[in-house]
């Protein structure tokens, strides 16, 4: 389809190499017409010399050999630990201005607008700390298991890393992701609306194995407390059923290397499908007990306010959700024609089975392609073809998981939970496209 629509011989260098200063200013003003006008100009030989040359002989990016083709490059190990290209520096973790007032108890959002596939680069994994982060000496880190176990026990990192390990890909999403949007649109881009979401390959030991070693009382001890080694020593209650499933890991590895300090180095809990606050970082202690603990993050925060004034306590599962990341809020489409609409879908209850995409605000839907791998409690990448006709559009995605649950719209979600919940907003996201090519964040019931 794309081939059919393409104009043969059409040269389309990147705009910054092709346009005059004036035309670049026009791009920055968000006027989409610039390209069409530029081509008209080129045809009429009225534009800058570069344009004229491009139209006559070809693209200067091809005709004029660049320095990287005509000089010696850098040696190996010039960067002993490799970093992204300098041209990628726009894609960074960022705070949302005004969201928090203290950096030690804040959030840095993952730039989802620039990511591909399903794995989040470790350096872009979102951050949420409760009392600052530390770079802990792994030789001094200990994991204690106590409570309803036969033997209260201590493990060093040496101990834990000697045990049989597993590696699994899972998403982690903060329970408050998209929380700013419960009542109305509040932020411009997918980084801030959905960026408390990451997905990594984690390596570690099933907590079940360690509890078995300590002789856990599985009959009476149906709850587990996880506690961090940071100043906040954050605690959360986790159901023993999840641990018995073998899914909960005591993890030290992330994407092939050790966890990053901001993500819990040297040890964190991995609780697939459950909100990030339960994935306790800098994990120092696991206690087995017969009742939940009512910790600060279970009784003051991470409680969901309902319209009747009650708070839901111990809400933990991240329900099925999806979002289109390209194109998304705060972006500009450069021209009409073909686009690969791409996004992410995930469910705390299992695998994604399908994602539907609408470009008319939810009147009609088409089924998107799910890219492999499609894994349980992991991000699934979806793509769908779209030929933009230059007219206004509203892009939406709607995911379905293998429990049969269909991602809800804002109207449905607010009917059940009101607008003040803060947590667990998994509503269908809408991106409005206008004639200029500008994409913005809107809400549709």
């Amino acid at each position: 389809m794309a081939i059919k629509n393409a104009r043969p011989g059409r040269v389309r260098p990147a705009p910054e190499n092709f346009l005059t200063d004036e035309q670049i200013a026009a791009v920055k003003d968000g006027r989409r017409d610039f390209l069409r006008k530029a081509f008209l100009g080129a045809t009429a030989a009225l534009a800058a010399p570069a344009v004229a040359r491009a139209a006559s002989a070809g693209d200067p990016a091809i005709l004029e050999l660049p320095p990287w083709t005509t000089s010696l490059g850098l040696p190996v190990a010039a960067n002993p630990y490799g970093m992204p290209s300098k041209y990628e520096r726009g894609l960074q973790r960022r705070e949302s201005p005004g969201l928090t007032r203290v950096g030690g108890s804040s959030v840095a959002f993952t730039p989802l607008q620039g990511l591909f596939g399903i794995i989040t680069p470790s350096g872009l994994h979102f951050e949420r700390h409760h009392q600052g982060w530390h770079d802990i000496d792994p030789s001094k880190h200990r994991l204690m298991i106590n409570g309803m176990v036969k033997t209260n026990s201590v493990f060093t990192m040496d101990d834990i890393m000697r045990l049989p390990s597993v590696s699994r890909i899972h998403f982690i999403e903060c329970g408050a992701n998209t929380g700013m949007e419960w009542g109305n649109v509040a932020v411009p881009t997918v980084q801030y609306s959905h960026g408390m979401l990451s997905c990594s390959e984690f390596t570690g030991v099933p907590l079940k194995e360690i509890l078995d070693m300590c002789g856990a009382d599985y009959k009476k001890g149906r709850f587990v407390l996880a506690e961090g080694a940071d100043g906040s020593s954050m605690t959360r209650t986790i159901p023993m059923e999840l641990i018995e499933s073998g899914e909960v890991l005591v993890a030290y590895g992330m994407n092939g290397e050790m966890l990053r300090p901001e993500n819990g180095y040297p040890l964190r809990l991995v609780v697939p499908g459950v909100q990030g606050v339960s994935w306790v970082k800098w994990l120092r202690r696991i206690e087995v007990g017969d009742k939940p603990w009512g910790a600060k993050d279970e009784a003051v925060h991470y409680i969901d306010l309902m319209p009747d004034g009650q708070h839901r306590q111990y809400t933990s599962v991240q329900e099925c959700k999806s979002v289109i990341t390209t194109p998304s809020g705060g972006q500009l489409l450069l021209d009409k024609g073909f686009y690969n609409v791409s996004g992410m879908a995930w469910s705390g209850r299992g695998k994604i089975t399908r994602v539907d995409v609408s470009v008319d605000g939810g009147i009609n839907w088409r089924q998107a392609r799910l890219e492999t791998p499609v894994l349980s409690k992991a991000i699934t990448r979806f793509n769908i073809d779209w030929v933009w006709d230059g007219k206004p559009a509203i892009l939406q995605s709607r995911a379905v998981d293998d429990s049969g649950y269909v991602q809800p719209g804002y109207g449905q979600l607010r009917k059940a939970r009101g607008t003040k919940s803060i947590y667990h907003n998994n509503a269908i996201q809408s991106w409005k496209v206008v004639e200029s090519g500008e994409v913005s964040n809107v809400q549709v019931l």
Binding site: K28, D29, Y87, G90, L91, P97, G98, R101, V102, G104, M144, G147, T151, N152, S153, V185, V187, P188, E209, I210, M213, E227, G231, P239, E241, K291, P292, G294, A295, K296, A299, V300, D304, G309, H311, R312, Q313, Y314, E319, T326, G330, Q331, L332, R354, D356, G362, N364, W365, I394, R398, V400, P408, G409, Y410, Q412, H424, S440, V442, Q443, V444
Partner: protein
């Protein structure tokens, strides 16, 4: 990987050495891994307090002592009356005598309170004890004795008019206080988002039944599209220049908004900008603002205080290095071992010169 091979290795090791696992405790199945914890070790770390008060240490503390401790350790962030909204959301406010009777905070239903304070939300007094004991004060967590935690909590509860001004809180009467918590009946676990067994089977909630049901309609699903919310004009520029938050190639570009970010790389920054970047990098800005107090004094206050004192720099350099307390209140400034001498010098000089960003 298989159970069989693990068992086999265990047998071989045991057979070859003629020994059982070398350490008592956590080694069943994996000889030589882990050891038993000592009683003192468990005591040192197992500090959690549950809603049924399992784990609560013995002790006592009264409102008056709590007020003094509060002013020393807590007021700089939370305000003298726990009402401050400067650094964290308020702890106190929004609850009434009626709420204490019913155990339901009425303002949560009517929406009358501008913000939800801690006392409006928290159902369990154990949570407050546990959290203060494990995480407060902000810059020196776990430094309070049990009696101090009781006293601070007594003061907080008095601010919320849950206990009288002459009250002494202790492990013996804390259950009675629980019966007066304003939102003690304000929680529900009747939902489908607990990933374990349902309440009926010894867990929590309804066993995972969702509260929202959508259908995957594909065609003519509605007649018209109503946009109910869009980004307000005043928020367009609030997140900086979006053009610089996107890739320079690909299907899209970022939309230019707000003021363009500085082009210069960090190493190219000079003077004030470099010092400000350093202060950010070293975490100074977590407690000090340039023109505002956070946990510690603002840099403007420090410059003002030491204006004209030629020897101020050396004293301040020492203070950053080894920590200090008392000049700006009782919240201690911890020693900043991660900042080099040269960096401290640069920062102090910058602060005394007025902490300009350029």
């Amino acid at each position: 990987m298989s159970r069989f091979s693990k068992t086999l290795i265990a047998l071989l090791v045991a057979g070859a050495t003629g020994l059982a696992a070398g350490t008592a405790g956590a080694s069943e199945g994996y000889p030589g891994i882990g050891r038993a914890a000592t009683e003192a070790e468990v005591k040192a770390w197992d500090i959690d307090v549950r809603p049924d008060f399992v784990g609560l240490p013995k002790g006592r503390g009264n409102v008056d002592d709590g007020m003094e401790l509060w002013e020393t350790h807590c007021a700089s962030c939370h305000g003298v009356f726990g009402e401050s909204n400067e650094v964290f959301t308020p702890i106190v406010g929004g609850t009434t005598a009626q709420d204490i009777e019913t155990g339901r905070v009425a303002a949560l239903v009517t929406g009358d309170s501008p913000q939800r304070t801690t006392l409006m939300k928290v159902p369990t007094v154990s949570t407050l004890f546990d959290y203060i004991q494990r995480a407060m004060p902000w810059t020196a967590p776990k430094s309070l004795t049990a009696d101090e935690v009781y006293a601070i909590l007594a003061y907080l509860l008095n601010l919320g008019e849950i206990v009288p001004a002459d009250f002494e809180l202790s492990d013996e009467n804390i259950r009675e206080v629980q019966e007066r918590m304003p939102n003690r009946n304000g929680m529900t676990t009747d939902h489908g988002m607990w990933p374990g067994a349902a309440a009926a089977k010894g867990g929590l909630g309804n066993g995972g039944k969702p509260d929202v049901k959508n259908a995957a309609c594909m065609k003519d699903c509605k007649k018209e599209v109503e946009i109910v919310s869009a980004l307000p004009d005043y928020a367009q520029d609030a997140h900086g220049n979006l053009a610089e938050q996107n890739r320079p190639v690909g299907q899209t570009r970022g939309k230019p908004t707000g003021a363009p970010a500085e082009e210069a790389a960090p190493e190219a920054k000079a003077g004030g900008a470099a010092a400000l970047a350093l202060a950010n990098e070293k975490g100074c800005m977590a407690c000090h603002g340039v023109a505002n107090r956070i946990v510690g004094p603002g840099y403007n206050e420090i410059a003002e205080k030491y204006r004209g004192q030629t020897d101020a720099a050396s004293g301040l350099i020492d203070k950053v290095k080894t920590g200090g307390q008392g000049v700006w209140g009782a919240v201690p400034m911890p020693p900043q071992g991660h900042v080099t001498d040269d960096e401290i010098k640069q920062l102090v000089q910058w602060i005394l010169e007025g902490a300009q960003a350029q």
